[in-house]
Structures are given as C-alpha cells and as structure tokens.
C-alpha cells in the first residue's frame, strides 16, 4: 500500500477527506500551518498543533524581538547530501551533538531518509512531511493513535462542544520527543496547605447537630 501519494486510507488519521486536503495542499507552495481534521459539526474545527521543532531548530541566538531565533532544517540540509544516515547519535560530529536516543531498538533509518530532512519515512517507504510525524508514530503505536483520535490520549484545548467553538489538539511530538519518547518526570506544583494540615489556631470546631429539647444554657 502506497500511502502518501495515493489516497488509500493508511490509518484513520488520514481518511479520504484528508487526502483531498493533501492534494489541494500540494498545489499550493506551502501547506497551511494547521491541517484541519473534520469537525463533528460545521461551526467548530479541530486542528492539530504543529510544534516548531519539527521544521526548524533553535540557533541559540535571539532575534530583534528577543525571541529565540529559529532556522529551518532545509536551510542546511538542502546544501548537503551525505552518503548515508548515521547509525547512532555518536556519529554526529559536525552538528546536532548531544542528541540522545532511547526509543526501543529503532534505527535512525526507521524514520529518517538520507538527504531529506524535511521529511520522514513510513514503513512502506513513502515520505511524509515532518509536520505529519503523527502518522509515523501511529504506524507502530496503533492503540495510542486510536485513543488519540477518540480524544482519550493527548489532551485538547478549547471547546468540548464543536457546535460552539474550535479546539486544538497536541501533536504526539509536543509530549514525546521522537528520540527519547518517555514522558519526563517533573516536580509537582501547588502542595495543598488546607485542612489536611494541622488546623489554624482560630479554627472553630464543628458545632454538634442540635438535638431538640436539649442544652438550655
């Protein structure tokens, strides 16, 4: 099954309506930044956030607005066509040092293609733009992709009622680094300081339920 160029539904993420979107997108110079999923009702739409890191990296410099400056993958990668992909992060000596890789026994070539750093490779050899990396993840993580599509994995923001407004979904790569996908431990916020702690001094006691005819002072 050839997925990307034809319109065969590769996964539920790409039913035929999305193919038509892809076909239209290809006639334009750049696909729209937020590919739309079909809304359940017409007025609201579901879009998937596309993390910047899929298409560019931070240079470590700030731009004139003080925001981290980013540079597109293609800026460098159109200038160079290496002979083969590395086998491990250790082979990256001229750039991208410090890359950590801990994702099962996958090889770099499971996802990357030599000379095409704006694209990722599906198992059948077809290419998808980096922004659609979810299709790649979904190939090996079917249950999570299915749950995601039913709103039961990956979270969302906006409206539960698409009749009233739109919502934005996270991308798999927003939460899982493709090279080290394990969700990172974190420190909890807002430790409760309420009544489970020793009570404040001025705290009055719970009054007894009044029994009728009792307790005349």
């Amino acid at each position: 099954m050839r997925a990307a160029p034809t319109c065969a539904p590769l996964s539920p993420l790409r039913p035929s309506w999305r193919c038509s979107l892809r076909v239209r997108a290809r006639t334009r110079p750049r696909p729209s930044p937020h590919p739309r999923l079909r809304p359940s009702r017409p007025s609201g739409a579901t879009s998937i956030h596309v993390p910047e890191k899929l298409e560019s990296i931070e240079t470590g410099q700030l731009d004139q607005n003080g925001k981290p400056q980013r540079i597109a993958c293609v800026t460098c990668h159109t200038l160079r066509t290496p002979e083969k992909l590395p086998e491990s992060p250790g082979e990256l000596v001229r750039f991208h040092q410090g890359l950590v890789f801990k994702h099962g026994t996958l090889r770099c070539a499971s996802c990357h293609v030599v000379g095409r750093q704006d694209s990722l490779r599906l198992a059948d050899g077809s290419m998808i733009p980096n922004r659609d990396a979810m299709l790649l993840c979904g190939q090996c993580h079917g249950p999570q992709l299915r749950d995601y599509q039913h709103g039961a994995h990956g979270g969302m923001n906006g409206y539960w009622d698409l009749g009233k407004g739109s919502r934005v979904r996270n991308h798999c790569v927003d939460c899982h680094d493709p090279h080290v996908p394990r969700f990172l431990p974190t420190n909890p916020v807002l430790r409760p300081a309420d009544r489970l702690l020793p009570p404040p001094i001025e705290k009055p006691a719970l009054p007894p339920f009044p029994k009728l005819g009792e307790a005349h002072p």
């Binding site: 749950d147 431990p185 974190t186 909890p188 807002l190 009544r195 009055p204 007894p208 009044p210």
Partner: protein, 303 residues
C-alpha cells in the same frame, strides 16, 4: 430533585434558636454564617436560588459584582449559566498517564478564585501505592519528583453523584443536582453547617473557614453565580465541572491544564462524544462503587 422550600431554612434556623436559647444559638451559629462579618441583611433575606425569578437573579448578580468590587477591588462579570438542553456532563480520567503533577489542581485554584494562602483547590491528588484503591492510604502532601516508582496518582474532585449523599443531608436544601448532572451550591443559602462535607465519601467539599484572600489582579473575572464567584466566608463550596465554562461549550480548566492529556470530558447523551467512546471502550472504575453514589466521574486505565 425536591422542591426548594424557602421556609425550611428559616424553620431550621428557628428551631435552632428556639430550642437552644439566644446565647446558645449565638454560640452554635458562631462558626456559621452569623459569625461572618460580610453577611448583609440583603443577603440573609435573599430567596433560594431556585425560587429567584430572572429579574431577581439579575439583582443578586449585581450585588455579587458590587461586593466583589468593594471587598476585592476586582471588576468581575458574573453570569447565570443555565444547563443546556440535551446535555449531561461526564468526566473520565486515565490513571495510566496521570503523573501526579497537580497542574489540574493549580488550574482549578486559579480558575475558581480559591483562597491563595491555603492553596485551596477542588482537586486533591492522592499518591497511591500501585495495586491499591484505598483512598484512606493515599498521600495528598507528597513533595518530590513525579511519577515516583511504585506509585500512581489519583486526582479526586466532586464526582457529581446521581445519588449524592451531600444533597440528601443538607438541612436547608442549599445544594442540589442540576438537570445536566452538576451538583451545585447556592452560596447565599448555605448556612455552613458542613453536614454535606461530612457526608461526602470523596472529601470533595471545602468549607470557607476564613474570607478567601485573592489579590485583585489574580481574580478571574469570568464568573458564574453557581460556580466560581468568590464564595463568602462560612459556606461550603465544591467543584462544578467549571459550569461557567462548560455550559458555554468550553472544556473545564483542569482538563486544559493537564500536560499528560489524561482527562476526557463531554456530553454523556451524545453517542459520538469522546466521553462516550471512553465509557464504551475502556474498562471503567468508579470510586467507592459499593456506596451506591453513582458518580459521573470515571477512572480508566490503558490495558
């Protein structure tokens, strides 16, 4: 749902006063509403929320907005969001992905104008031993990197029970279940006796021991009269599934804040909703099912 009886609350108060005598009454009520400094006569005489007509509700809203400005220096917009026809809310939480970061509790804290000093929140996250469902052994005070090995995390908020013990014990019917499944409190009617708090098997209700302190700039101005308006001292408060948001079609604040995507919210009556998919396709647990409370809050695991 039973009829609100305006008279009942007065009778209850009178019974208290009549049998205990004035000073005992004052004593018994001291920690309650009479003890609060911010109880105006206007508020005391206000009718039960369910008896209020449209215009009267507008008056109550105007009063709450005015008082918030006077006491907190914050200009807020209070609305009376009504249940939506054909909508009954349900909430599910994936315990396999929750990592116990308490971001949900924090979002609730901010969204619902909780007292800043106590870090109050309608959500309490319990750190639990894997394999145990015993809430009593959960730790809410944990303070280390999460997730910790051998533990899982159980966030608990109001379960919006269909058979709600808290509603049943309220002597003045200041709390009831709405048609969309949300259990609400009339914060102007509650006398602060705290029986509901004691009756709730999920410890989901909170009592305002002190006047909630929220700096003016931190007050969330987007408020609902039955939800996140700043509650007065001496009343019991609870999670309303953010009805001021959800009755307008938006997702609850705790769901949006969850960095793990563990929370699923939606309309139980819509067969195509995410919540229905979860209920139909995952193994669902409810807390303390044996009590027969019939929660609208569900827990699930990825298997």
């Amino acid at each position: 749902m039973s009829e609100p009886e305006g008279g009942k609350r007065r009778v209850f108060l009178k019974v208290l006063g009549g049998t205990l005598g004035a000073s005992a009454f004052a004593y018994a009520m001291a920690p309650l509403r009479a003890w609060t400094k911010d109880l105006s006569a206007e508020k005391f005489l206000q009718k039960h929320y369910k008896e209020l007509g449209k215009e009267e509700i507008q008056k109550v809203i105007a009063r709450v907005e005015r008082e918030t400005l006077e006491k907190y220096g914050a200009k807020v917009k209070v609305k009376d969001q009504k249940p939506i026809e054909g909508v009954e809310f349900g909430y599910a939480l994936n315990l396999s992905v929750c990592i116990g970061c308490r971001k949900c509790a924090e979002a609730c804290h901010v969204e619902n104008n909780h007292d800043r000093k106590t870090n109050n929140s309608y959500i309490r996250v319990l750190e639990m031993d894997q394999g145990s469902f015993d809430m009593a052994r959960g730790d809410a005070q944990y303070d280390h990197a999460v997730p910790a090995p051998g533990k899982y995390y159980l966030p608990i908020q109001c379960q919006q029970c269909d058979n709600a013990p808290c509603v049943k014990v309220c002597p003045v019917q200041a709390t009831w279940k709405e048609p969309d499944g949300i259990v609400v409190v009339d914060y102007d009617w509650c006398i602060g006796c705290r029986y509901c708090e004691a009756a709730c098997p999920y410890h989901a209700r909170r009592f305002n021991w002190t006047k909630p302190e929220v700096p003016a700039a931190a007050v969330n101005p987007d408020q609902g009269i039955l939800s996140n308006r700043i509650r007065p001292q001496g009343v019991v408060e609870k999670c309303t599934f953010c009805l001021h948001r959800t009755r307008e079609g938006r997702l609850p604040a705790c769901l949006e804040a969850c960095p793990t995507g563990a929370r699923v919210f939606g309309n139980l009556l819509d067969p195509k909703s995410e919540i229905r998919w979860v209920l139909e396709n995952k193994r669902i647990y409810v807390l303390k099912e044996e009590l027969g409370t019939k929660p609208r809050f569900f827990y699930f695991f990825d298997v």
